[in-house]
């Protein structure tokens, strides 16, 4: 059973516009949420995170929003750049997960110049 879900396998956005990537989770015990970025032939790299005590975390062009009641988080990239083209994974962990993160299936973002 997939505890973390990314329902959009792909997303295309024009350069300079906003990219919004979505993620849903089912386990109410999750309290840390992360986004990773992955380029082809490389390992995923940490992008940004948020804990359940917050509803927003911002780092430059990247902002993560958390809606605990809806069990939903989103990553906003503003403005989008061609170098942002990659696969983005969301991940979650929490009490009882044994220091383990559960990952979504990924969303492939293409930023069109």
């Amino acid at each position: 059973d997939q505890q973390v879900k990314q329902n959009s396998p792909s997303l295309s956005v024009q350069e300079g516009r906003i990219s919004i990537l979505n993620c849903d989770y089912t386990n109410s015990m999750f309290d840390y949420f992360l986004w990773y970025k992955k380029y082809p032939a490389e390992g995923p790299t940490f992008l940004i995170s948020i804990s359940s005590i917050k509803d927003k975390n911002e780092d430059g062009r990247f902002t993560v929003f958390l809606n605990k009641s809806a069990k939903h988080l989103s990553l906003h990239i503003v403005p989008s750049q061609p170098g942002d083209s990659a696969v983005y994974f969301c991940a979650a962990s929490g009490e009882g997960t044994g220091n383990q993160f559960y990952f979504g299936t990924g969303t492939s973002l293409t930023v069109i110049p």
Partner: protein, 112 residues
């Protein structure tokens, strides 16, 4: 930047042969993980370790075993490779809840 390396980077093997993938870290992290990445499935945990000789199964552990005899090395073995184990394998170390994992560059394994 956490030092984590995987070897080999690419491997082609025949069905039924044993295969061992190696993960090496240089920063004395306690927790290490093996994931596989497949289209439509994202990253799925195979096994993890929480110390020397301390390991546990993940969600897709069937057909895999691991060993950790030293803090720095975490080995993943496919006892008898099958075509369903064709995948990209990632090793990771934990940087805590807020920073998650640091991943290696991956091993692309093809079982023919």
């Amino acid at each position: 930047d956490a030092g984590i390396t995987q070897s080999p980077r690419h491997k082609v093997t025949e069905t039924g042969t044993p295969v061992t993938l190696r993960c090496h870290q240089t920063e004395n992290h306690r927790y290490m993980y093996w994931y596989r990445q497949d289209p439509g499935h994202g990253l799925r945990l195979i096994h993890y370790s929480y110390g020397v000789k301390d390991t546990d199964k993940g969600e897709v552990s069937d057909g895999y075993s691991v060993s950790r005899s030293k803090t720095e090395d975490f080995l993943l073995t496919l006892e008898s490779a099958t075509s369903s184990q064709t995948s990209v394998y990632f090793c990771a170390i934990s940087q805590g809840n807020f920073y998650g994992y640091t991943f290696g560059s991956g091993t692309r394994l093809t079982v023919v």
